[in-house]
């Protein structure tokens, strides 16, 4: 492992004990306040969906959001809006560390074991576990970033499409015949409905 992977970005951890220094994994001890605040921070972004425990898990979120993002390109901005609505917690807190249970466990265990000296910590924790921990961590961060990217794309796409469509609709509605002339009568919906007899089915 090189130095980069040993040094996870500091902003993703709320717990200062988890900010790794090059030589040791966890330089400082943790206090109960840090643990509780980190737990609170974890708790806020706990569920990726707006439905909370009834919605999707973190694992299923990414393919779901990706699928909706791609489907939205079929002239379906409403799908993008639903995507943003569904994953609202992720949009609100894109940087907060989501709580993968294994990750939590590793962090908790490491921070608990910090009451011993650092040498003992390194001796206690298996090397494999450290690599595993970091690998999971980086992978999860990446997945979270991809999810946020999909959602930001959806949000931007929806806003853009809505801006264009509403400007056209307002121009049409407010401008009326003065602006468009004869074409207005051809385009307006109630005339089209009359022309083609669209309301005669019921």
């Amino acid at each position: 492992m090189d130095d980069d992977s040993r040094n996870p970005p500091a902003d993703s951890y709320t717990n200062p004990t988890a900010a790794a220094a090059p030589t040791s994994i966890l330089p400082t001890t943790t206090t109960t306040e840090d643990t509780s605040s980190s737990r609170r921070r974890f708790g806020r972004a706990e569920w990726p969906t707006i439905d909370g425990p009834l919605g999707l898990s973190h694992e299923d979120s990414l393919p779901y959001a990706r699928r909706f993002f791609k489907l939205g390109f079929l002239c379906l901005p409403f799908l993008w809006a639903v995507n943003c609505f569904y994953f609202w917690p992720v949009l609100r807190h894109p940087n907060s560390h989501h709580s993968h249970p294994d990750l939590r466990r590793c962090i908790e265990r490491i921070s608990c074991s910090m009451f011993v000296s650092t040498d003992d910590v390194i001796a206690h924790i298996d090397n494999l576990e450290i690599l595993d921990f970091l690998a999971i961590h980086i992978f999860e961060i990446l997945k979270r970033r991809l999810l946020s990217a999909d959602l930001f794309g959806s949000a931007i796409g929806f806003l853009l499409f809505t801006a264009i469509l509403s400007s056209w609709a307002l121009t049409f509605g407010i401008g009326g015949e003065r602006l468009f002339g004869h074409v207005w009568q051809e385009l307006v919906m109630y005339n089209v409905a009359d022309k083609y007899g669209l309301t005669g089915w019921m």
Binding site: R39, R40, F42, G43, E46, T49, I50, D51, G52, P53, L54, G55, L56, S57, D60, Y64, C75, L76, P77, F78, L79, V82, F85, Y86, S99, P101, R104, R105, E108, L165, W168, A169, F172, G173, G176, L187, V188, M189, Y190, V192, A193, D194, L198, T199, W201, M202
Partner: protein
């Protein structure tokens, strides 16, 4: 295992669950009343509209017929309709028995597409014409397309935003109910009563199709693919350790306790399982997942509406009675939404006084049904009590109360 520090009162748990089912029913009824008021305000209410459908195949009502003729014709229409519904429900049972669940799901999506796309489009066109709203055809087409496709996805996919799914189910209910209110008057009322009786028979009789369906679904521990409104379950949050979730789950049949390994500090969930004979097992489930607990108690009323001129509003909505969902939430079939709204919509065609009376009757009936559901803990038909109370109140209001109130008002005595 974590205990909820402050036990929630019965008002909070039961009351909230009841509210969560009464609210969408009320919204559906209100929307139908508004639609009826706007669109049918001009024309008379005695069924002069030449609507030809399955429900009027036997007899087309004419306002010049005698009462006895109208009654006979309405009875004939209703019989035909109930017969068709029974046949289609048995077909559904057969398909489900043969395992064609995918086909049923696709058919559900297709019918949702028809309802939202065609009926929704027509009703919005009628509204646009009524208000002379200056929208152009391109915008209208795009909006309708979006609305329809997202609606089909909401009905089709199991994991969609709950609010979106519920909203779309209510919209489908509103559209179908409005379509039903276009039927002739006598036919509508007799049809409502006939459907209530059919629901009663189909769910409670041993040979009834809905009962067979429920038993099949329970034995296979599968979900019936159907348009069902499921209210959001009431979730207790236990305080300090943020994420612990408590859910109540009712489950009938073989109450086998499911033990799942609980990982993580925050994902402590306690699920209470109750089998049909009042057994309780405490279970830990992880992170609020449904854990494939069987949907216990549901019923079906299958309704097919065919228009003879176009195959447009041809729906096969699978509708269910009241039951309990796998997460402890109350499930109400879409057919119940539709028929409640039809009753109130028809009442709106007469006067608003009947609307208030029928609304209260239906909500009272729904409350009674929910109480019976809690008491018996099996699938129950949601139509009979509400519809019969509603029809009774409509007749009493129209024949007795209105005269009284009008006379009192005219003589400046009351109101």
């Amino acid at each position: 295992m974590e205990e909820n520090p402050r036990p929630r009162t019965i008002l909070e748990t039961c009351g909230e669950e009841i509210i969560r089912i009464v609210t969408p029913v009320s919204i559906c009824m209100l929307s139908v009343v508004i639609l009826v008021s706007i669109l049918n305000g001009g024309s008379s209410s005695s069924g002069d509209l030449p609507i030809s459908s399955m429900a009027t195949i036997a007899y087309t009502e004419n306002s010049s017929d005698s009462i006895w003729d109208k009654l006979k014709g309405a009875l004939l229409n209703s019989l035909v309709f109930v017969a068709v519904v029974t046949a289609v429900t048995f077909l559904l049972v057969l398909l489900f028995y043969l395992g064609c669940t995918k086909f049923l799901k696709y058919y559900m999506g297709f019918s949702a597409f028809l309802v939202l796309g065609f009926m929704g489009g027509e009703i919005s066109l009628l509204l646009i014409q009524s208000f002379s709203f200056p929208v152009d055809c391109i915008t209208f087409a795009i909006v309708l397309f979006n609305f329809t496709v997202v609606g089909v996805l909401a009905v089709f996919m199991s994991k969609m935003a709950l609010f979106v799914t519920q909203a779309y189910l209510v919209v489908i209910g509103v559209l179908v109910a409005y379509w039903f209110t276009l039927l002739p008057e006598w036919t509508t009322w007799v049809l409502l009563v006939a459907m209530a009786l059919y629901d009663l028979a189909a769910v409670l009789l041993p040979g009834g199709p809905l009962r067979l369906l429920v038993e099949l679904a329970m034995s296979r521990e599968e979900d019936i693919p159907a348009l069902v409104y499921e209210a959001r379950p009431v979730i207790n949050d236990s305080g300090p350790s943020g994420g612990a979730v408590q859910r109540r789950v009712w489950r009938e049949g073989r109450g086998r306790p499911v033990m799942n390994e609980n990982e993580g500090i925050r994902s402590n969930t306690r699920t209470v399982l109750a089998s049909g004979e009042n057994e309780r097992d405490y279970v830990n489930a992880e992170e609020g997942r449904a854990d494939e607990l069987a949907v216990p108690l549901i019923q079906h009323v299958n309704i097919r509406m065919n228009s003879t001129e176009d195959n447009v509003p041809s729906d096969d909505l699978v509708l269910e009675g009241i039951g309990l969902g796998s997460s402890g939430a109350i499930k109400l079939g879409l057919g119940d939404f539709i028929f409640y709204s039809v009753l109130v919509g028809r009442a709106a065609m007469y006067d608003y006084m009947t609307v208030y009376a029928c609304y209260l009757a239906i909500i009272a009936g729904l409350g009674i049904t929910l109480m019976l559901l809690a008491f018996y803990r099996k699938a129950l038909p949601a139509l009979p009590v509400s519809i019969l109370l509603g029809v009774l109140f409509y007749l009493l209001t129209r024949l007795l109360l209105e005269v009284f109130v009008v006379q009192c008002s005219m003589n400046l005595l009351m109101f």
